[in-house]
């Protein structure tokens, strides 16, 4: 059982911005534990960590551990580190495990399958919808979805898991109180509310610095048993996550995309180099040897009564998504009549309007 005081002392070390990973390692090497470093902190440490870090550490030390513990508790921030009961066991297996994690929500003790879904921040509708759908189906099967709470694919993956009432974990490259991007704060709150967690290895008030993110990416893959790559352009930061995944011995899946889209470049290359193909959630579940909970029998929902024209329109859209112009030609009806047909089918939830006056049938 780990002393809670050790956690707080470790947090004390993390809160000093000017102290880097190396400095922390040196201190722990010298003193043995973070607690020992706190208790026996002396000017001799100045030589180890330099003036700036030393001054900052001693200032923070003079405040004491109690206020630190209180402020963390007030924000609902909890701590864990290797050896502590909530520390994810998957993370202990990675080459570069975090010394300390700040988190809000709950890190489950019980192990389930966890899949990381990562991809471009400049996603396309295709990628967004697939990430959402796959995350949703996986979460419905009890899989935990891991992602980085960034814009684009990350957001879609978290949302998919949440909409399936599932569990998802977001890993930040900034402090928990410095949400980046800010518009995802509501998403983070939802994640916590639904039994997931938002995690960061940086002190709560750390800025989202550019170099945090590539380092953070090792945790995104480390938290999961497998990684799904959805859309990434060449030189994307997502490649770093894939690299970590391979180093950590995690399974890598890639979602194929249109061959002419820039976002398909990296997933397709990964597929050629041996990544597993993922076309639906079942692909991942089967390849990971996960026993799916018996899915409720899909009963065919009967179509509501449709008029002849509505039927023709619906059939046309089941075949292929089409523009208003194409539909006018295919059905040979005037614009005003087509408008009426489209609205009625849309209101019945049979079809969906897309940007560019495109329409498609809703999957049933």
């Amino acid at each position: 059982m780990l002393d809670p005081r050790e956690l707080l002392c470790q947090a004390w070390l993390s809160c000093a911005d000017s102290l880097g990973t190396k400095g922390r390692a040196l201190l722990k090497e010298t003193y043995g534990t973070a607690q020992a470093a706190f208790d026996h902190f002396s000017p001799k440490a100045r030589e180890l960590v330099g003036d700036k870090a030393y001054d900052e550490l001693s200032r923070l030390r003079s405040l004491g551990l109690e206020p630190l513990a209180q402020s963390l508790e007030k924000s609902g921030i909890k701590l864990t580190m290797p050896g502590e009961e909530h520390f994810p066991s998957l993370l202990t297996q990675i080459p570069d495990p975090p010394e300390l994690l700040f988190y809000q929500g709950s890190l489950q003790v019980k192990e389930t399958l966890a899949i990381a879904i990562v991809g471009s921040r400049r996603e396309t509708r295709y990628g967004r919808e697939q990430a959402y759908q796959i995350a949703r189906e996986l979460a419905a099967q009890g899989v935990t979805i891991i992602s980085g709470l960034a814009r684009g694919i990350d957001t879609a993956a978290h949302l998919g898991a949440l909409d399936a009432k599932g569990r998802t974990i977001g890993i930040l490259g900034s402090g928990l109180k410095r949400m980046y991007p800010v518009e995802n704060q509501a998403l983070a709150d939802r994640i916590i509310k639904q039994g997931g967690a938002v995690v960061s290895e940086y002190a709560p008030k750390s800025e989202p610095l550019a170099y945090h993110f590539p380092f953070r990416n090792r945790l995104v893959s480390g938290f999961a048993n497998g990684l799904l790559l959805v859309e990434a352009r060449e030189k994307s930061g997502t490649l770093i996550t894939v690299g970590h995944s391979l180093l950590q011995g995690r399974e890598v899946f890639a979602l194929p995309g249109p061959v002419d889209a820039p976002g398909s470049a990296v997933p397709h290359r990964m597929l050629r180099e041996g990544a597993r193909i993922c076309t639906c959630a079942r692909d991942i579940l089967e390849d990971m040897g996960y026993h799916t909970q018996a899915a409720p029998e899909q009963t065919e929902i009967p179509l509501p009564d449709l008029t002849n024209d509505q039927r023709r329109l619906y059939d046309a859209l089941c075949h292929e998504q089409s523009s208003f112009h194409q539909l006018m030609q295919a059905l040979d009806v005037p614009a005003q009549q087509l408008n009426v047909l489209l609205t009625t089918l849309e209101m019945d939830g049979l079809i969906q309007a897309l940007p560019g006056k495109m329409f498609r049938a809703v999957k049933r």
Partner: protein, 515 residues
């Protein structure tokens, strides 16, 4: 000796009577002063009047001359006071014997050679003069046609100070201008854009027709080169001519702003204003030192077209919200405080994203979802909410350009628009409302006559798409116009269904990706 002439000062488009008093006395030194809160242009009339008098065969009195513009606490601006000042001086210095000047309104700017130049706001002055009980007015010839429809006024168009003097003294009478009816002013206009030039685009065509028929605000959103601007420019050709009342309102604003071409008559065609996106807040809304009307008022009874709407500064766009809702704008400045009507159709065009190709079927969009969001967010939700018809425009397939189908011309569509407007005129008889878009919340339920089925559909749409109360009422108005175009007494389900189709882009572009 003392002499008085009558004229009017303008505050916005409201005319206020001003008496010009001239007092001429013998004195050893020459002095000439104008008092009574004149602005720079009025003060300068001192020099213009002096020169014009000499060049018209009169002389400037050698002694002391004082001109007072009464009421003395009212600010006076503009050049319309030249003529009444000159005449007051001529009469006061006994260079001309005239019976009575009290019942004649004089307006006009003087050139140095004594010719009369047109002034701004002539129509407003003549209307105000008529309201004040005046029945005769002498004004510059170039302003004459502007007021030819005002009934009950004897208008004497003059071209020089000498002509006015001779007319007043009875030596050489100017014939009064023949009064015209409004119908005689209506001339057939050739528009530079016609719908027959637009290929394909059935959906935007339909939106233009509905917008024109009901006076609805319209947003065209689409890829570059899809013809958004061209279609918007077809609107003047689809709109009916203004009624006499509307023509008066609009002409008065244009005349006061000085944008009416000299020598032209009453405006009969609806204005189509296209301010550039570098336009300032004051030029769009109105303002400046003397609270001049802005583009929203110049577009009164017509169209305000904002091309590439997200390029306009946010503050400028947001300032449109109040005039769009109220149809009137109050401008307050230190020196002036005035109201202008601003009941216009807002027509805007925009691209769906920074690169322009979001949602296009022919080209890839290069923008990330965040870039798109940031671009679209330049148009705020409240403003978007006030746009009744939102229509997506895509490029016309090449086959359709090469082998065009027979397309309707503006005149054909306009005929239907006029019929629909006739139905509205009957509906709104005896009220302030002129078209469906102007219906207010309280009288709408009774006026629109929506069937229960249509209302049920509307309510489920509101629920499904999370529409606002304002969107709800605006949908009823659009559906009412669609029914008018089909000569239907009540708003049936199909009309409502079509209206909803023109409201769907909020969620697709502005909504959450997964909503």
């Amino acid at each position: 000796m003392l002499a008085r002439t009558k004229c009017f000062a303008l505050n916005g488009i409201q005319g206020q009577p001003v008496t010009v008093e001239a007092y001429v006395a013998s004195a050893s030194q020459f002095t000439f002063n104008i008092v009574g809160l004149p602005d720079a242009a009025v003060k300068e009339s001192r020099d213009r009047v002096g020169a014009a008098l000499k060049n018209s065969g009169f002389v400037m009195p050698v002694g002391q001359t004082v001109v007072n513009l009464s009421p003395a606490d009212l600010r006076k601006e503009g050049t319309a006071f030249d003529l009444p000042i000159a005449l007051a001086i001529i009469v006061a210095s006994r260079q001309l014997l005239v019976p009575a000047l009290d019942d004649i309104v004089l307006i006009g700017e003087l050139a140095l050679d004594g010719q009369l130049q047109p002034v701004n706001g002539a129509l407003s002055i003549v209307i105000a003069a008529h309201e004040q009980g005046f029945r005769k007015v002498i004004l510059p010839r170039d302003n004459a046609r502007e007021v030819e429809v005002v009934s009950g006024m004897e208008v004497y168009p003059a071209s020089s100070l000498l002509e006015v003097a001779q007319h007043l003294s009875g030596q050489n009478l100017i014939p009064a201008q023949e009064q015209k009816t409004y119908a005689e002013c209506l001339v057939s206009t050739v528009f530079d854009m016609d719908l027959s030039q637009v290929r394909g685009q059935q959906l935007p065509r339909r939106a233009l027709e509905i917008a024109a028929a009901g006076g609805h605000n319209l947003l065209l959103i689409g890829v570059p080169g899809s013809g958004k601007t061209m279609m918007a420019r077809c609107l003047p050709g689809l709109l009916p001519e203004m009624s006499q009342e509307e023509a008066f309102e609009t002409t008065r604003i244009h005349s006061a702003a000085g944008v009416l071409k000299p020598g032209t008559g009453l405006m009969t065609q609806r204005p189509f204003r296209t301010p550039h996106h570098s336009a300032s807040l004051a030029s769009l809304i109105g303002g400046g030192m003397n609270a001049r009307p802005g583009e929203v008022s110049l577009a009164h009874n017509g169209v305000l077209f904002l091309d590439e709407m997200p390029e306009y500064p946010r503050t400028v766009l947001e300032s449109l919200r109040q005039p769009l809702e109220d149809g009137v704008i109050t401008i307050s400045r230190v020196k002036a405080h005035t109201q202008y009507l601003s009941r216009m159709m807002l027509v805007a065009s925009m691209n769906p994203c920074p690169c322009g190709y979001f949602g296009s079927q022919t080209r890839h969009c290069r923008c990330g979802s965040h870039d798109i969001k940031r671009y679209l967010d330049k148009v705020s939700g409240p403003l978007l909410d006030r746009i009744d018809l939102q229509v997506e425009v895509d490029v016309v397939p090449v086959e359709d350009i090469v082998n065009p189908e027979e397309t309707e011309s503006s005149a054909q569509v306009r005929a239907r628009v006029i019929m629909a407007r006739a139905m509205q005129a009957e509906r709104f008889m005896g009220s302030e409302i002129r078209c469906n878009a102007q219906m207010g919340g309280k009288d709408m339920e009774s006026l629109a006559r929506v069937t229960p089925q249509a209302l049920t559909l509307l309510q489920s749409a509101v629920k499904k798409y999370g529409l606002s109360m304002r969107a709800y009422t605006r949908l009823i108005k659009v559906a009412r116009t669609i029914a008018d175009l089909a000569y239907e007494e009540t708003v049936e389900l199909p009309a409502m269904a079509e209206a909803i189709q023109f409201r769907m882009i909020d969620g697709k572009y502005w909504g959450e990706p997964h909503a």
